[in-house]
Amino acid sequence: MAAYVLRRLGVAVCLLFVLSVITFLMYSQIPANPAGFVIDLQHASRAQIAEVDHELGVDRPIWVQYEKFVVRALHGDLGLSWNGIQFSYLGTASGVPVGPLVWHAAKVTASVVVGGFVLLLAIALPLGAFVATRPRGAADRLSLGLSLAAISTHPLVVGLLLQLFAGNRWHLAPPSGYCPLVPPSAAAKAEAARQGSELCGGPLAWASHLVLPWITFALFFVALYLRMTRARMMEVLDEPYVRTARAKGGSELRVVVRHALRNAISPIVTMVGMDAGMAVGIAVYVETVFALPGLGRTTIQALQGFSGYDLPVIVGVVLVTAVAIILLNLLVDLALYAIDPTIARRGRKALASAARAA
């Protein structure tokens, strides 16, 4: 097991390295004027621009920049955002550090993705197990048809409709915005009140603001997971050990949940890991519609700022997202091992291909 985890960690580190190199190379090829973040390019002399370029470090060769970036990143420092960066006369820079900026955004995106997956599994697993016991029945056809309609509707459209009707017209949930899970401190609240605004927070406010985003997210994936659960359950329910469990006199619920679902679940867990990249994409749509300050919005702000793209923020977002996806996959591997310890020997590839073939 330790060897298995170590091997996967090694692959993950290599992936991260290549990913950061590619991002760096890509952006070194895109012409831009980072000096524009600091001075007014129209009224600056060439010498001034060159000086700012030097202070930002973008006049050095790309590998020197990359080396500096890696060394700093290994110390947990992702540098300063170019947007709003300032230099004192001594040349020390001050501004918004990328790490916390991306961290705050990542928490929002993680709330959407994790909560969305939980809701999705809470719908797909019981429903899939239920319809598998009554294949081709009314519930089966209805749930399949509805979930197919859901996957064929663009998440943007689903989100916009939910926001317009459930949020703005019927006031079932807040239509947009985000509240942190941890409630703000009294001092922060007083400070905000002094400035004439109000801070929200706390588990209840957090969840209520995220209900519509979670539904939007879950609706997109529910068809895939429902179908997968149904197919696997139908397979497993035919197995001899299920017959044995029934013969022993276990209740139907106990047979389906304890004996069948437990054995059907591993390819579904694998699917969660494989869909992580796509989930981040769907989260971007969801953030867009519900005005959540997540990674998607951070990225687009960094790309469409007044002075051009904000490279440190972009690299930060890419790295944090990639680390999250890799960690999630590692977690999935560990969960699979917990469900079925023979997995380390059989390997995950076989499971993944079984998941997609079904």
Binding site: L148, G277, A291, L295, Y309, V318
Partner: protein, 359 residues
């Protein structure tokens, strides 16, 4: 009257339809013909395809204006576009006297009227139906082009990895893992909104601006799926007897792959391609909505949605006074029908092409 005895020989029986053995494609087609859902889906998709390719110019010729022509009289006094089936004054110019409270003063005498079948698209007063049709052309062009590109890259890399194995396989597989771990929507948005290099490429006017760039970006990030399909099939078939037989007759690797192995990956790739076009339509809509896709004034289904709802940084709260619900419903419906019919067709094809299925 002479009595005739008909002798049915084995050869004659083979000539007759029912006894001739069916090829795999004929079997698949027979199964598909019995699958009513798949047939209807296929017909719907073909109809959409026809509407967005030939329908645009036909409607344009019938109503007498183009998709990018602005009609000031197609917009109400609160900038609310006119609804479906409205006749508006056929002029691009508002009179110089300008707006008053009621709206525009009447146009000069002798101006005709022109029909807006589905109403106007927004404050500029362009024909929604035409923008929908021409926008669908752009969306489907991006989706199909990107799918073909992904198929080409994926087939080549997958075939190389699966057939050659060894070091080639190791390199390609790691590369595939890498691309799979990419949050590709973020990447497409990142590159799409910063790189302007190829957004102006139109292949001498054959494509609209931004179309080729989007095709290349989507294709470049989605080839890993066909690559995995092809690689797995190639690995399974590499040791098959017919491959050994071909090698023994002196066929070289390239020929074995091309004429003996590739036909085996066509069915799964066909199913993949059908489903991928659906996914790519969604992706085009999303990327354009996020401001990194097809540029205005070219319409696409994504930009039609974005026009009503604003983009990420310029959100545009829905205001019934200045917009029509049609402007959300119509593009959404177009996207839904396309994606739904392609998904159903893909599923039908998967079942029809399954070698384990019955006749």
């Amino acid at each position: 009257m002479s009595s005739e005895v008909t002798v049915v020989t084995g050869y004659d029986a083979l000539e007759r339809e029912e006894l001739r053995p069916l090829g795999p494609w004929a079997v698949a087609w027979r199964r598909l013909r019995r699958d009513r859902v798949a047939l209807v889906s296929g017909a719907v998709f073909l109809a959409i395809l026809f509407a967005v390719t030939a329908g645009g110019p036909i409607v344009s010729a019938l109503v007498g204006h183009g998709p990018n022509d602005p009609f000031p009289y197609a917009v109400g006094s609160t900038l609310r576009p006119v609804g479906p089936w409205t006749h508006v004054w056929d002029t691009f110019q508002a009179p110089a006297t300008g707006l008053n409270e009621i709206g525009l003063p009447p146009p000069p005498k002798g101006t005709g009227k022109t029909l807006f079948v589905l109403g106007a698209d927004g404050p500029l007063g362009r024909d929604e139906l035409l923008r929908l049709l021409y926008g669908g052309r752009v969306s489907l062009l991006v989706a199909i082009g990107a799918t073909l590109l992904a198929l080409a890259i994926g087939t080549i890399l997958g075939a190389a990895a699966g057939y050659l194995g060894g070091a080639v396989d190791a390199v390609v597989s790691r590369f595939t893992d890498l691309v799979m771990a990419f949050p590709y929507l973020l990447f497409i948005v990142m590159i799409g909104s910063t790189v302007d290099g190829i957004s102006g490429w139109t292949l001498h006017g054959a494509l609209n601006e931004g179309v080729l760039q989007l095709m290349v970006l989507i294709g470049a990030f989605t080839w890993f799926y066909p690559a995995r399909i092809v690689r797995t099939r190639m690995q399974q078939l590499r040791g098959a007897e017919f491959v050994d037989a071909a090698a023994m007759t002196g066929a070289r690797d390239a020929r074995i792959v091309r004429t003996h192995l590739l036909p085996h990956v066509v069915p799964p790739l066909l199913v993949y391609a059908t489903l991928a076009v659906a996914t790519n339509v969604m992706l085009e809509v999303g990327v354009t909505f996020l401001g990194a896709g097809v540029h205005l004034p070219t319409s696409s289904w994504g930009s039609l949605l974005a026009q009503t709802w604003g983009t990420l940084l310029n959100p545009n709260p829905y205001n019934p006074a200045t917009t029509q619900p049609w402007l959300t419903i119509l593009p959404s419906l177009a996207i839904f029908l396309t994606v739904f019919s392609l998904n159903q067709l893909g599923e039908g094809m998967r079942e029809a092409l399954d070698p384990r299925g019955g006749r």
